[in-house]
């Protein structure tokens, strides 16, 4: 057995990471996802970062963010959405 002939690309892994973490992929999709992670240190690190981000963000109380920081974040998010290349300022 050679593993999946059609290995997921890094881009596909990035697109699927949220569904993977939410357990929304089928078992076959999960295995293909994990086969890619087994050989791709970059995507494995990305998954770890996403998991850490979710854990930290989940503990963040909205009132703990000061207004100035909140304004900067909202500005960055709006600019990101407006920029077709997806770059935040």
């Amino acid at each position: 057995m050679s593993g999946s002939p059609e290995m997921l690309s890094c881009r596909e892994v990035v697109e699927l990471v949220t569904e993977y973490l939410e357990g929304a992929l089928s078992e076959a999709e999960e295995v293909r996802f994990e086969e890619h992670l087994a050989m791709c240190d970059g995507c494995a690190a990305y998954l770890d970062q996403m998991r850490t981000t979710i854990a930290l963000a989940g503990r963040l109380d909205p009132e703990a963010v000061d207004l100035e920081a909140c304004d900067r974040l909202m500005h960055a998010f709006r600019g990101w959405k407006a920029d077709p290349e997806g770059r935040a300022e």
């Binding site: 057995m1 050679s2 593993g3 050989m39």
Partner: protein
């Protein structure tokens, strides 16, 4: 059933971001593989794992409701992983030389000699498999993975059906 499972350093469960509990203690969502799928999952440590509850196979992976580590296979260490990576590198060169002039295989040749480190073992196996696919199609890829399984079985003295 008893199967094999690769983990990160310190029995870190790949992809889950946590560690297996100490050997003998059950954990939810047991994962493992048969010996012939081991090359797909190569990582730092190799263990025997006991899987229990709704054990089923999805492509290259065995899945179960729970699993527990049984014992580590010490023969799989950095030295063995480095040997495997270099063996795959040589195999890539063989495949590319046999099809001299094939641009797809020439592209693999450039990378082949860089596979020397233990950390390269999984990628080296995958690249050798894709080089074999470029030379002989997916049947060639399957044969290449079988060769890699054979290398692991012989070098690590693995039983096809693992025993405790």
């Amino acid at each position: 059933m008893i199967a094999y499972t690769f983990t990160g350093p310190g029995a870190r469960r790949p992809f889950r971001g946590d560690r297996w509990p100490p050997p003998g203690e059950w954990a939810a969502a047991g994962r493992g593989s048969r010996v012939d799928h081991l090359p797909v999952w190569i990582a730092t440590e190799l263990w025997l794992v006991e899987l229990e509850g709704s054990v089923h196979e999805v492509a290259t992976q065995l899945r179960a409701d729970r699993g527990r580590l049984v014992r580590r296979i010490d023969a799989w260490d950095d030295a063995a992983a480095g040997e495997f990576a270099r063996w795959c590198g040589r195999r890539i060169l063989e495949l590319s030389r046999a099809a001299d002039g094939d641009e797809r295989l020439n592209a693999f040749r450039a990378d082949a000699e860089t596979f020397a480190a233990a950390a390269d073992a999984n990628v080296a196996g995958w690249v050798a498999t894709r080089a074999a696919a470029a030379a002989d199609g997916e049947d060639g890829a399957a044969r290449e993975r079988a060769r890699q399984t054979g290398w692991l079985q012989e070098r690590l003295h693995l039983d096809p059906v693992p025993r405790v």
